[in-house]
Amino acid sequence: MRDDMGKITKEAFSSEVVSILINIIVGLLLTLLLLPRASFSQLIIMVPAMLSARGNISGSYSARVARDLIIGSARKNLPENVLSTVTLMLVTSVVIGFISSWIAFLLHETFLPVHYFFLLPLMTMGMTSAVSIPTSTSLNILAFKKGLNPSNVVPPIMTSIDDVLIVLNLFVAITILGVP
């Protein structure tokens, strides 16, 4: 199989363009929805961690569903897979809330009420999971039924969808809680 520099560059660059476009939407949402807020300097502490954690949790969930479909144990394992994903999401949200509240306390003179630091990641990641878990499961099943390997198709799509959902849901959570 030919695997020269031109082929590697062409394949890597082509798939990267889609990824760039989706991440530009994330950047645009951050710039337009979060940057103008008075609490931006404290909100931005938790954004990279939420994006990274959601990607890691969602990527692993998707890979497990794909593997279970391939080995024929999806029906049996799905409830515990979902439950463990929700548990990991809850634990990570609390850790993000705890660390970001400390960082905000150390870096800033005016400090948002502590409950915001815990409620924002919980609500944001909870709402994202409510959409992400059923979507990821459905996409895995659909890809599997179409004869594709879900491991190759679903994770890149879900990572990008989750990134956009996290920023949108953070904005929804900020609006619901009335964060300045």
Binding site: A12, E16, L28, A49, L51, S52, L83, T85, I96, S100
Partner: protein, 183 residues
């Protein structure tokens, strides 16, 4: 509940470690809030910039691991033609992707009225951050893949989650450092 316990037990350590690492990124961005407010274009490009560098490093790890397993690359420090081709091809892809990212972002910023600040400064900072981070990470990942492979473990399982978190942290930090040095 055996499957539930297995998933939580195996995932929680790496997940929390990655979360803690990426909190440093949030801390750096929060410290530079005035600069970000003055140059909103930086916020616009940061997610795509992290993604491009992270993806190229992940492809590099994936390729290196496959080559180690099939014996195309020896499990010792040696810059064979295969290693050089992989590195140069991904470096070229990185350059093209950063170029595409900047062009799309400039059009978007012009269309939505997002302020550039000093555009050439931002351009220089993005190029410096992307290329220096990729070169450093590529070398570290190459060494890491050989080390892990020699210990009979799969480099993909260890290096991919850590690479993503490190890039998500180091990319904004380096961007801010370069901006502070050049402003």
């Amino acid at each position: 509940m055996r499957y539930f316990k297995k998933i939580v037990k195996e995932s929680i350590g790496v997940l929390l470690m990655c979360t803690v690492i990426t909190m440093f990124s949030g801390m750096a961005l929060s410290s530079a809030d005035e600069m970000l407010a003055a140059i909103p274009f930086l916020i616009l490009i940061l997610p795509a910039q992290n993604d491009v560098i992270g993806d190229m490093c992940q492809v590099l790890v994936g390729r290196m691991t496959s080559h180690l397993y099939i014996g195309l690359v020896p499990a010792r420090l040696s810059f064979t033609p295969r290693v050089k081709t992989d590195f140069l091809a991904l470096f070229t892809s990185l350059a093209l992707s950063i170029g595409a990212m900047l062009v799309i972002n400039v059009f978007l910023a012009l269309a939505s009225g997002i302020a550039f600040g000093n555009f050439f400064l931002v351009l220089f900072v993005v190029i410096c951050t992307a290329f220096s981070l990729f070169v450093i990470m590529a070398f570290m990942l190459y060494l890491g893949a050989i080390y892990i492979f020699r210990h009979n473990k799969d480099p993909n399982n260890f290096l991919i989650p850590i690479t993503t978190s490190l890039i998500d942290t180091l990319s904004p930090v380096l961007t801010i450092v370069f901006m502070l040095l050049l402003l």
